[in-house]
Assembly symmetry: C2
Homo-oligomer: 353 residues x 2
């Protein structure tokens, strides 16, 4: 990694207050070697969106990058720099059958069809709660992952925040013993309630703001929890901590989503340090497992103004992805989180709130 990348990284880190390495600048360049559309670049670069935006401006100032309409391109000087740095496009090596998830969904066709039908008139993602839901195929894949790990059949499942409708897909399999949902958004709880009633699915639905500790009846009561946390460090740990507090004990498991778009690897590390300290081992971490439907508030999200070029992406043109993180308790959970107050969605890396 040349001196230049480290200098650029330092500039971007100072501007954004996000930990950015020379390697992150390199990731931007590799993305630029592979795509021109700003959303594809964002998907491929796998660094915080705000760091990407600042990085593109820094690269433009260096004469390596330029843009027009919604395309961002390497200049001749930029392309030369890439060659000198030994960089080449990332190979497209995702398995074309499973999209890189490694899961065969053929077995679950019936479930998928039923879920698609039920999810058709779901509520739109709401900015107020930092929502943004995954594609229906993603929800089914997440449930499949629980099933293959033995975290679904005969188990008690708590879904902590459920705009992804994991509770519905899980209950549709008829495999879990118990399915419960916590959500703060009345549109979500009432939608799940209606679907459950119509389809005779046993889903317990609780309206709850996660800033408060779990209701006593839910503590140490579940085998599995699932959530897709907001990604400020504090917010992520709040979701994860509440989830861990809901688990029975050693052998119980949690599923979480974690992005690059709003979380630097420094944040990943801070999260992992805490999860491990709380008594969990990380058993699986599959990057880009979750694909998100583009939300209706993209033009008012924090990152929008930072983009060098602006185009509203199509609803089903996913660029925002997250890793699937599975953790399993190996000791009793030792989460020490009381009530918190105020905005849990915001930190320097947040881009979609």
């Amino acid at each position: 990694m040349g001196m230049d990348l480290a200098t650029l990284a330092a500039r971007v880190a100072t501007e954004t207050r996000i930990p950015v390495t020379g390697r992150d600048i390199e990731r931007i360049l590799v993305a630029l070697l592979s795509a021109e559309d700003v959303w594809r670049i964002a998907e491929l670069a796998r660094i915080p969106l705000l760091a990407l935006c600042a990085g593109l401006r820094a690269l433009a100032d260096a004469g390596w990058v330029s843009w027009e309409s919604w395309l961002v391109r390497l200049t001749d000087a930029g392309a030369q720099a890439c060659t000198q740095l030994g960089l080449s496009p990332a190979p497209a090596l995702d398995c074309p059958r499973c999209g890189g998830r490694g899961i065969e969904l053929g077995l679950l066709n019936q479930l998928s069809a039923a879920f698609h039908e039920l999810a058709a008139d779901r509520p739109d993602a709401a900015q107020e709660f930092d929502q943004g839901h995954v594609t229906e195929e993603t929800t089914i894949s997440r449930v499949a992952e629980m099933w293959r790990h033995g975290d679904l059949a005969g188990k008690d499942l708590l879904v902590v925040g459920d705009d992804d409708l994991v509770s519905v897909a899980a209950a549709l399999t008829r495999l879990p013993r118990r399915v419960a949902v916590l959500d703060v958004d009345p549109r979500i709880t009432s939608f799940i309630g209606k679907v459950a009633k119509r389809e005779s699915l046993r889903i317990e639905i609780l309206s709850h703001d996660l800033r408060a500790p779990l209701p006593r009846s839910l503590a140490r009561a579940f085998d599995t929890f699932a959530c897709d946390p907001t990604e400020s460090l504090e917010g992520f740990l709040l979701f994860a901590g509440r989830g861990l507090a809901s688990l029975r004990g050693p052998g119980s498991a949690g599923y979480l989503g974690l992005t690059h778009a709003e979380a630097s690897l420094a944040k990943w590390r801070a999260i992992q340090e805490r999860l491990v300290a709380w008594g969990a081992a990380i058993t699986d971490l599959r990057d880009a497992f979750h694909a998100y439907v583009n939300w209706p508030y993209v033009e008012t999200m924090r990152g929008w103004e930072h983009l060098p070029v602006r185009r509203v992406p199509g609803r089903l043109e996913p660029w925002y992805r997250s890793a699937l993180l599975r953790i399993e308790l190996v000791t009793e959970a030792t989460v020490d989180l009381g009530p918190v107050e105020g905005n849990i969605f915001l930190d320097d890396e947040a881009a979609t709130t």
Copy 2:
């Protein structure tokens, strides 16, 4: 999880001195619901082999399991217990195209063919060094994973212990800037040397016992390291620590293998705690990514006598698998490992030494 599983787990934990949870006993039962061959059961259960062996004996004493010739089966009472516990066979959901790895190897056919040819007369795995190499397809997949992550093209790669011949496959791509190998086994270093000479591959080969710190010239000199550590906690951390010490700094990455067969989730957690403390984030953890060729010393390995039924598995009938763990430095590495002495292969969970 019933009281019985916890009691059984406690017995197994006491006997084996391995951390075993009720959930681990459940994993044995689910494996028994899905297979009868002892090696398939070992593959599916995903717990330490010695804990599995003790668990099967405990389940036999409870009247839930019996065996004859090389098959292990649930008894009627065992099957009933599974039903009462709500357990069912694990679904076979691995993508049939990529085997669950998520990688399309079609692009790499030429590389694969060349590698197969070169690896044909490789040295056999040696018990003295706790060797056991992965299948050739696995080595290619590991190199593909490095490539897609940007850890191969134009980069400096150190392979720390290389009975898997990662250095050869990596050099064959002609993508890395530098490939270096450390190994203590003269059969491996001389084999790689011969191949490199014949194929005009630039591979630096060093004979080195990892119990000693890295040669000064290799410290902070690489972008990427790869290793498949021995799995005693001390041995694993020694490989990982030497690897991290070889990395340039933030943005540099390491690839490691980690099994269930010789590492409880408690050990996974201890490893993860240390990796994070040393300055790394875990960026990818794909379970069962690596498949191993059965080694010639299976009948003299530590676990053999513990098996309830004994059959020498076929060479290409993999049961021993490991996760692919990718880590990336987010700060300078802070590894504090001096020279160590004595046997680094043994702890309570070791089964194949």
